[in-house]
């Protein structure tokens, strides 16, 4: 039985398709979901979401998310969900540099510091995901 996976962000429906399995960055370590998983709601961390479908893998960089597993489908709600193939490497690199500069220069306290660190983490993740995709050099496919 295939698994219906939906990835939604506040701005759009990022992915919707049947898949064989999905691996997600849970807050307490990696989490794999196969068909017939028990109903579950949990928080997701910052990291890579990997979709396995017909022997191929698709990767998303996600942040700030929740996972809901229902008998009929799996839904990922995330503040950010970028498909690896759609991440612009140069832009990701630039965002990382900017985040680093923001951390180095200026004084940060409390919430500001947390926000700057989070921005850097997100930038690093996007870059890592995009770079791996780039190296593997697979043709771009749409799910």
């Amino acid at each position: 039985m295939p698994l219906l996976l939906e990835i939604v962000t506040p701005e759009r429906l990022a992915y919707s398709d049947t898949v064989d399995a999905v691996t997600l960055p849970g807050i307490e370590g990696e989490l794999g979901v196969l068909p017939h998983h028990a109903p579950l709601v949990t928080m997701l961390g910052l990291g890579e979401l990997r979709i396995r479908k017909a022997g191929e893998t698709e990767t998303f960089a996600i942040a700030g998310g929740f996972l809901q597993v229902r008998p009929d489908k799996v839904v990922v709600m995330a503040e950010m969900a970028d498909m690896a193939a759609e991440i612009d490497l140069e832009k990701a690199e630039e965002a990382r540099r900017q985040a680093e500069r923001a951390l180095e220069g200026g004084f940060h306290e409390g919430a500001d510091l947390a926000a700057a660190r989070a921005a850097l983490q997100v930038a690093l993740l996007r870059q890592r995901v995009a770079e791996r995709r780039h190296r593997e050099g697979r043709p771009r496919r749409h799910g």
Binding site: E6, V8, P10, E11, L13, E28, L40, T42, V75
Partner: protein
Amino acid sequence: MASQRDIRRRIRDVGRIKQITRAMQFVAASKLKRAQDSTLAARPYSEKIDEVLADLAAVIAADEHPLLSRREGGKRLLVLITSDRGLAGPLNTNTIRFAARVITEHTGDLAVVSVGRKGRDAMRRARVPLEAHFAGFGDRPAFADVIPLARLVTDGFVSGEFGQIDLVYPRFVSTLIQRPVMETLLPVAPAEDTEGIPGNQFIFEPNPGAVLEQLLPRYVATRLFQAVLEAKASEESSRMVAMKNATENADDLIDEYTLAYNKVRQANITREMIEIATGAQTH
């Protein structure tokens, strides 16, 4: 009676105004399309958050989280969403009048957070205390734009400064109808879970409280984002209709002036002919 030249100038002026209103009409139409698309695109996430919240509500008592519990004391906060720019028909006037009625009917402390310049200006004129102001979020509001606003209202509610937070914005019903509405943002009232499987059949990891803790701020931000997107769609559709009317009025005016121009021209010719004829007779 106006001279031929005066009338001709008026026709030209109205023609220029018409060019502008027509251009604004088309620009508003394309922005409306975009705003409607973003509103639709944002819906799945918002529906999903609502659903998970309903599932959580099935296993958590209402007073277990500060954002869920009704509280005594603290002032009432109104988040008023209007547009930054005018020339949008009666939209802002209607929204502000609606808010004004809520404000006058309310007894006790009340403050307003304005999103969009029009609302801020009106509240200032009416001397309603403004808690904060956010400029409108441009033609393409992003989720990140509403985060500071969401944080402001959430913190104010948790600290007890605000006892209740309501949202006033123009809901987009259709291109022709936009209706100002008020919705309670905080305390959060989870919807009934009407479809899917009951909330108590889910396993919540690590526990329902922790998930709720993370979910609620996002729920608040999502509600605000939805309202901002709808207000944007309302603004553009109201502007589009207003500019369409203005363009049609300009056409009517041009017709009227052209008629007047022809009459004056005819009268002048007739007068000249009479003058020539009488001149010829006297010779």
